[in-house]
Subunit: 223 residues, 2 copies
């Protein structure tokens, strides 16, 4: 990378991190758990949110910020489930930034429990941008292959949990779940692991329970 | 995007385009067809190249430049097929640039027919960088979903051909091949369409024939 690029990037990241810290403090202070969902295009982020909503609703209130380069397609899918969703279209940019999330702040209802932020489908750039999340969830779908952790290191080393999606496609797909988890574990020992199939509704309950436990942690930090 | 970011990007793209034009002129002048392969992570770029090598070899000579953030995994797979492969690890950068390809120039054998450049797995950033290719091939795998063209417009509008991969997974996957192709066609009417399954070896022969026709075009430009 050129020297000029590094300087500009550091400057941008510095101001991004400041905004992100403010978002995190404000949301968690209100008892809202912000979750950043990252993955390649088509790994099943929106489908996972649709399924999660069935496990969380109506006991817990959730809302979704949808990040896409173009179209409102994902927000429309979430709204069809009766969940509030706001679309950010980046108009070409390959990731969300904290300031984009910050602009939606006035719309976020105070009685919310979970604020999911679905990042732009991209396994590279979003990993460099803190959006003010408390939990960073990385999705890896089985058709993508079990060789991805070391090929896309930053996404795997910065995540809090790894959600393997589309587990129903194995077999016939040659994805070794244990191998993918083991490689990710070597890179990031504190990673929490989940294996899910939205089609069969397996593993989503365990993921929902983990998120509820994280919510309880921010609501009762001294418990 | 901030003003500063735009200026830096334009400067970088300007110098990238100059290097790319030089690469394209030199390669095609030698009768070598450079092909830039772009897609999301895990769409099957390396597997497609493995299969293509079986259709092109030994009549045509091919070599591969592998772009990855980390690891030599893809280059090793290609070398195992007896095909020369050079790995570029970008060390974090989300796309290849023409200067990275340019640095490998001394290694490229003069009697080559096809130079495949497998970009970093990313459906966003690589679309902005000309690598000196004559043909830009975009892969879309069926598990990613048929809603991708309008969500990732630049990749689809700048490509010369769209290769739908993993067609053997449909059904049960709810991917409508005709819908994906139609949406891409509306955005880019001159796009050439291919539907492939590397597992079943279907559609690869048609894609190979298209690439051979493109090679003939640069070798006999006045024919």
């Amino acid at each position: 990378m050129e020297q000029k690029e590094v300087l500009v990037l550091e400057d941008l990241l510095g101001s991004n991190n400041k905004i992100a810290a403010e978002i995190r403090a404000k949301l968690t202070g209100r008892g809202i758990l912000p979750i950043n969902l990252m993955s390649s295009p088509g790994s099943g982020k929106t489908t996972l949110l649709e399924r999660l909503s069935e496990h969380l609703h109506p006991k817990y209130k959730m809302a979704v910020i949808e990040g896409d380069i173009e179209t409102e397609r994902d927000a429309e899918r979430i709204r069809a489930k009766g969940i509030p969703a706001w679309q950010i279209t980046t108009g070409g940019a390959c990731h969300l930034e904290a300031k984009m999330v910050g602009r939606l702040f006035p719309k976020i209802p105070p009685d919310l429990n979970f604020l999911f932020i679905e990042n732009v489908g991209n396994l590279v750039c979003p990993a460099s941008y803190d959006l003010g999340e408390s939990i960073r969830c990385l999705l890896l779908s089985t058709p993508e292959g079990d060789d991805k952790p070391k090929k896309y290191p930053k996404a795997f080393t910065t995540a809090d949990c790894l959600v393997i999606t589309k587990s129903d496609l194995v077999p016939p797909l040659p994805f070794n779940i244990e191998r993918a988890q083991q490689e990710a574990r070597e890179m990031n020992p504190s990673l929490q692991h989940f294996v899910t199939s939205a089609v069969r509704d397996t593993g989503i309950d365990t993921l929902a329970a983990y998120l509820i436990a994280q919510l309880e942690r921010i609501r009762h930090p001294n418990a």
